[in-house]
């Protein structure tokens, strides 16, 4: 079984027809339910729900508070290599872009990590461009081992791996896996990912499942908004999370649907997603998946992120640099994308506290707690 089977069920489904058929009465009925179906969720993403955005936000706020309390999980990304074998036209790291490339040695990773750790950050997300030949599995296991001695929780966002490779990562201390499908629509996916290993749609789609089988504790999936029609993309991203939740009950699942940001070359977005639509996607997702983590990155502006912290978002990054060596070493490296929220961890903490929210800096400790960690 693969999530692909779920996607196939909607192969001949006319999204537009369904979205246009949703009535205000249907939205009211859905908002009165405790549990909603996949098609109810899709209805909440339809234009008919525009008038009910406030009610949806209120419901999402209550569900979030009940399930997660007043806390926001805080993490930061650490870019260690920007070499890439793929040619995604929307990403600065794509192989065809002539940028100065960087790849951190273990010593340099340690330097960067220590600079981050000094700010009080305890949860780290290790990122690379997708090059198996530069950021090899061996290199990543060593990097993860090193970082798990410095941080309490290490997650990875790298190229899709085989299950046994994920197992190696877990043994070295990685307990979180983030991997975005980018685009769930298969045809559009192939249009955007010509050349490079990323051509393989199914291998990427099943990566979160392989990670879960390899005993990852938490998995984040999602799509990049602006690459295809947003409603169906959000729909499938949420169904992917739902599928993983059902298949791996002990897994902590999170979702993110970042919006495209400016990068090294201007990439024409397929569609623009307004703030209003973006908020609707978040609150509808919270109503559909009450226990799912929802991440909002620094691709979004401070003001919007602050507001979203009350509407369903449970995970936020802070003190972010999207360039290799961006925390301490300061190479002349190119960020993967421009960030819109430049707050430091300290500023972020203070802002959340002022809003009556508790920033959670320590939510697990791999080196003490995990039984499958071989250190």
């Amino acid at each position: 079984m693969s999530f692909y089977d779920v996607i196939q069920k909607y192969k001949n489904f006319d999204f537009q027809k369904y979205l246009n058929s949703v009535t205000p009465q249907k939205i009211e009925n859905i908002l009165n339910k405790d549990k909603i179906s996949q098609l109810d969720f899709l209805a909440l993403l339809s234009p008919a729900s525009d008038l009910y955005l406030e009610q949806m936000a209120q419901k999402a706020h209550i569900i979030t508070k009940k399930n997660f309390g007043n806390v926001i999980f805080i993490f930061t990304p650490l870019y260690i290599s920007d070499y890439c074998d793929n040619s995604c036209p929307y990403c600065s790291f794509a192989r065809q872009h002539r940028i100065t490339r960087n790849h951190l040695s273990l010593d340099k990773i340690k330097e960067e990590a220590e600079a981050i750790a000094q700010t009080g950050m305890r949860h780290i997300l290790v990122l690379t461009g997708e090059s198996r030949t530069v950021a090899t599995v061996d290199y990543l296991t060593k990097a993860v081992s090193l970082l798990s001695g410095i941080f309490s929780f290490v997650a990875i966002e790298v190229y899709p791996m085989l299950e046994e490779e994920y197992s190696e990562m877990v043994k070295c201390g990685a307990e979180g896996l983030t991997i975005y499908q980018e685009v769930y629509n298969e045809k559009r996916y192939h249009e955007l990912h010509r050349g490079g290993p990323k051509e393989n749609y199914l291998f990427r789609l099943d990566a979160p499942q392989r990670g879960a089988k390899a005993q990852m504790r938490s998995v984040t999936v999602g799509c990049l908004l602006g690459l295809y029609e947003a409603t169906s993309e959000v729909f499938f991203a949420a169904l992917h999370a739902e599928y993983l939740q059902k298949s791996f009950p002990s897994l902590e699942i999170s979702l993110a649907f970042p919006r495209l940001r400016p990068m090294v070359r201007n990439f024409p977005a397929y569609c623009e997603v307004s703030d209003r639509e973006y908020v609707k996607f978040i609150v509808a997702t919270r109503i559909f998946l009450p226990r799912c983590g929802i991440t909002v990155s620094t691709r979004e502006k401070k003001e919007l992120r602050n507001s979203l912290a009350r509407l369903g978002v449970t995970r936020m990054s802070a003190g972010v640099s999207t360039a290799v060596g961006g925390h301490k070493i300061s190479f002349s490296s190119t960020p993967q994308f421009e960030i819109a929220d430049t707050r430091t961890l300290e500023q972020m903490k203070n802002d959340l506290i002022a809003m009556g929210l508790q920033p959670v800096l320590h939510d697990w400790n791999t080196k003490y707690f995990a039984t499958n960690f071989n250190k």
């Binding site: 508070k65 009940k66 399930n67 997660f68 309390g69 007043n70 806390v71 009080g120 305890r122 309490s152 504790r217 939740q245 009950p249 002990s250 897994l251 902590e252 699942i253 226990r291 506290i353 009556g356 929210l357 508790q358 959670v360 800096l361 320590h362 939510d363 697990w364 400790n365 003490y368 707690f369 995990a370 039984t371």
Partner: protein, 256 residues
């Protein structure tokens, strides 16, 4: 005669146990505990940063309270055992609430893994309080394995849905010769009072207080509810009948 909750031979005044998670500001915890007048506080070890003692949730918990570290985050008995041992090692005492969750959607416990962890930890001298479904056969095994109490759920963690498992909890109260502490699902003071009225020894709750707009006031409300429920239980509730007992009976003329 004073009425105490007795766990592992230790006499405890308050029958309300609270948690320390989900608060908007952890510095309010001391005030909440004061208002709740509770003696036992549960803390998720996953939130304790051992490498960073100055930024640590434990600093908000007054020293005189009994710390009940819980194994939140454990997916199996091995992880729960590991967390419990670590907890004792760092000086958090020998009480442990075993919480093994195999299901992140409803946060329901894994009874089988919980029994395995109880068997090991009780032998190692821990005061073990296992969080479980209200299953009487399992509860007997837990007590026989050395658990100091059983902690059945009223409804899923954080759901605030009240005592959905009422009839099964009543059976535990009747059959198990150890404290039965309702843990999870208590959303309102009236739910807590109800649990105490049917003879539960104590209640453990967190979300209902932590996610309230005024946690300190809500803590006091729960304290009063737990006391009221306990008193009602001790006093003996009047019989409940479905048959009306009219003050002007229709057959009263026969006695005239």
């Amino acid at each position: 005669m004073e009425d105490f909750l007795e766990i592992a031979g230790i006499k405890i005044k308050s029958r309300l146990i609270t948690g320390s998670g989900k608060y908007r500001d952890e510095s309010i915890i001391a005030d909440v505990l004061k208002a709740a007048e509770c003696d036992i506080v549960t803390v998720a070890l996953r939130r304790v940063d051992f490498d960073n003692p100055q930024d640590n949730i434990l600093k908000y918990i007054p020293k005189e309270k009994i710390l009940l570290p819980n194994t939140s985050g454990a997916r199996n008995s091995e992880e729960a055992i590991r967390i419990a041992r670590l907890s004792r090692e760092i000086g958090c005492g020998n009480w442990v609430k075993i919480e093994i969750i195999e299901d992140q959607k409803y946060l329901l416990p894994d009874n089988i893994e919980t029994l395995k962890a109880t068997e090991v930890l009780a032998k190692e001298g821990f005061i073990v309080l296992p969080y479980v479904y209200p299953d009487v056969a399992l509860a007997r095994k837990l007590i026989n394995s050395g658990a100091a109490a059983v902690m059945p759920l009223g409804s899923p963690i954080g759901s605030n849905r009240g005592l959905k498992t009422l009839e099964l909890i009543e059976i535990l109260v009747e059959e198990i010769d150890a404290p039965v502490i309702v843990d999870a699902g208590i959303g309102k003071p009236s739910d807590a009072a109800h649990a105490m009225e049917i003879g539960c020894s104590a209640v453990l709750l967190n979300t209902a207080i932590a996610s309230s707009d005024d946690p300190v006031k809500m803590a006091r409300a729960f304290k009063l509810a737990v006391e009221a429920g306990r008193l009602a239980y001790l006093a003996g509730l009047g019989p409940v009948s479905k048959i009306a007992k009219p003050s002007s009976p229709l057959t009263g003329f026969l006695d005239q």
